[in-house]
Amino acid sequence: MRLLPVRGYEVELRELASFFGREMEWPAAPPCLFEEALAAVGREPGDYSSKLDLSLRGEQMALDAMRKIFRHLLDTLERNIEGTRADLDSEFLHDLRVATRRTRSALTQVKRVLPDAIVEEYKQRFAWLGQITGPTRDLDVFLLELPHYRASLPDAMAPDLDALESHLRKAQAREQASLKRKLASAEMRALLADWHAVLDAESLPGEPGWFADLPIERVASQRIWQMYKKVRKAGRAVTEESPPEAMHELRKDCKKLRYLIEFFRSLYPAKELKGLVKALKALLDNLGQFQDLEVQADKLREFAADFSPDDPERLPTVMAIGALVADLLRHQQAAHARFAACFAAFDAPGNRARYTRLFKHEGKARK
């Protein structure tokens, strides 16, 4: 017999299961094939999450706390390499890239904890990892978006995207093969091994970071407060005429702010952070849409250029791409129009007070 859960009846399920076990003394069935297969490779359901779920203590030394964060990110990164190489699912590469970005953000945003020389070196080396994984991810995004693109076109035009799809698939296969090689390269192996060594070393070479032995809470609050002020200032300066570059810069800073808050989440009351993160996420979503839609439109234009305009068989595809670009740019404009409301929520008095309460400290993190 097999008991299947129904939503809202968790208690009943447990009671029934224990009735069969205790009262009827039925032996428990062996785990299902899926669970057995997972156990055989040393996994269990739910044992992986890309979320940063760290518990730090406020009085912990900054260097120790940061190493803990870096180790967690490195672990996430490494756990996604195999899946990325095998191209099982685009999520592996996505998580790998997020872990890489977070590592770089932690290196550059929480300065003077690790020795400067180390920060400089690994900033470059992780930037390399970001670069080699970029092209495949871009194409993955297009392939994931394709069903939505088709749906946005009139039914009669949807098949015109077939040629684009096969073009994208070929390009993706090419980039994926190259990425697969690079992820197994000596350079990649050295990066992982060297970074492990830095994180596990008893003592680090070079001048120790100026803030290394400060309590992490002070360093974290100071960094978050600085980045918050930067975002607030840039956001207030945005007007209808702001160039896309200004929006992109603002998005980058918002992302940095979000990563900082995620790294140090456990240092602050969860309830207070919840509302704050929500407003920040909404702002980031808006800025992300604005930029992604533009990038997609630009890329689509490039793809269209790849198709020879003289070939009459290609013409419908080029025209369908044109319709998509128009649609994307319209949505982009709409996203820009929503920015003011998203930023106003972020810059609302209640939210401002929360940032001040949580992160602004008397005196700076100086020794």
């Binding site: 939503r7 809202g8 069903p147």
Partner: protein, 257 residues
């Protein structure tokens, strides 16, 4: 996610039957569907064989507890229910305690938007703060209407109310409990309706199959899909889908094997 309110000022016009059958049809097409039974009479809850009781229902309406925690599964894959509770008879008072009472339901529903493709609100009869909440939360209103003069009058009342409150929610009326032998029904159906709402083509007949829902405690579209009523709900669903848009199951995950 789309929210459809099934509403009429009058009671006994086939609201709950509509909500349950349409929800069932939607779920069989792979839409993740939820019915919220807002009527303290709890008919939808009864039809779907769920206990009409919500733990902490007051806290929920005040937004102090997540709706998510009280959702109940049904006998059907992809069809869930937020059961009714007897305390919903005081819903106007409870909603009135919130800051912006007219949009409280929408606020409560928002967190569910990722989990469901379609939410149907089975509304209590009457026109009240609850109804206003429903008008504001819904992407469209479905208005089952018995083809009688009195019913047409309540339809006018509703449309006046909406106009008076600046509510732009599209209203799709359709004739329900239609008895083709009645001259009056035929006449009303033949009259052009109020231009402020759309009258759908489907006629849902007055049928014992629908009344049997109370005995079967299942949707007609499940136990008698080929009956006249079953086919009518089928046609109604197709019409709603064509009108409302966005009611297609997304091909969610394509597996590489």
């Amino acid at each position: 996610m789309k929210i459809l309110g099934v509403y009429n000022i009058k009671g006994g016009v086939g609201k709950t039957a509509t909500a349950v059958n349409i929800a069932h049809r939607a779920s069989t097409e792979g839409l993740r569907t939820l019915i919220w039974d807002l009527d303290p009479q709890a008919a939808a809850t009864f039809y779907l064989r769920v206990k009409p009781k919500v733990k902490g229902s007051q806290k929920i309406l005040k937004g102090k507890r997540d709706l998510d925690q009280v959702v109940k599964g049904s006998d059907y894959e992809g069809l869930d229910l937020l059961p009714s509770d007897f305390s919903y008879r005081n819903m106007d008072l409870l909603l009135g305690e919130n800051k912006r009472p007219a949009v409280q339901l929408l606020r409560l529903l928002r967190p569910l938007s990722k989990r469901y493709d379609l939410i149907l609100l089975d509304c209590p009869p009457s026109i009240s703060l609850v109804s206003e909440n429903i008008f504001r939360a819904a992407d469209a209103l479905l208005l089952p209407t018995i083809p009688t003069t009195l019913s047409l009058r309540t339809m006018e009342q509703l449309l006046d109310f909406m106009e008076g409150h600046g509510l732009m929610t599209p209203v799709y009326a359709f004739y329900s409990m239609v008895d083709r032998r009645k001259r009056l029904h035929q006449d009303v159906i033949a009259t052009p309706g109020d231009p402020r709402c759309t009258i759908l083509d489907t006629l849902v007949p007055y049928a014992t199959e629908v009344e049997r829902m109370g005995l079967e405690r299942r949707p007609v579209t499940d136990y008698a899909p080929r009956s006249a009523a079953g086919r009518a709900y089928d046609a109604l669903w197709e019409e709603i889908r064509a009108r409302v848009g966005g009611l297609r199951p997304l091909s969610r995950i394509s597996l590489p094997f």
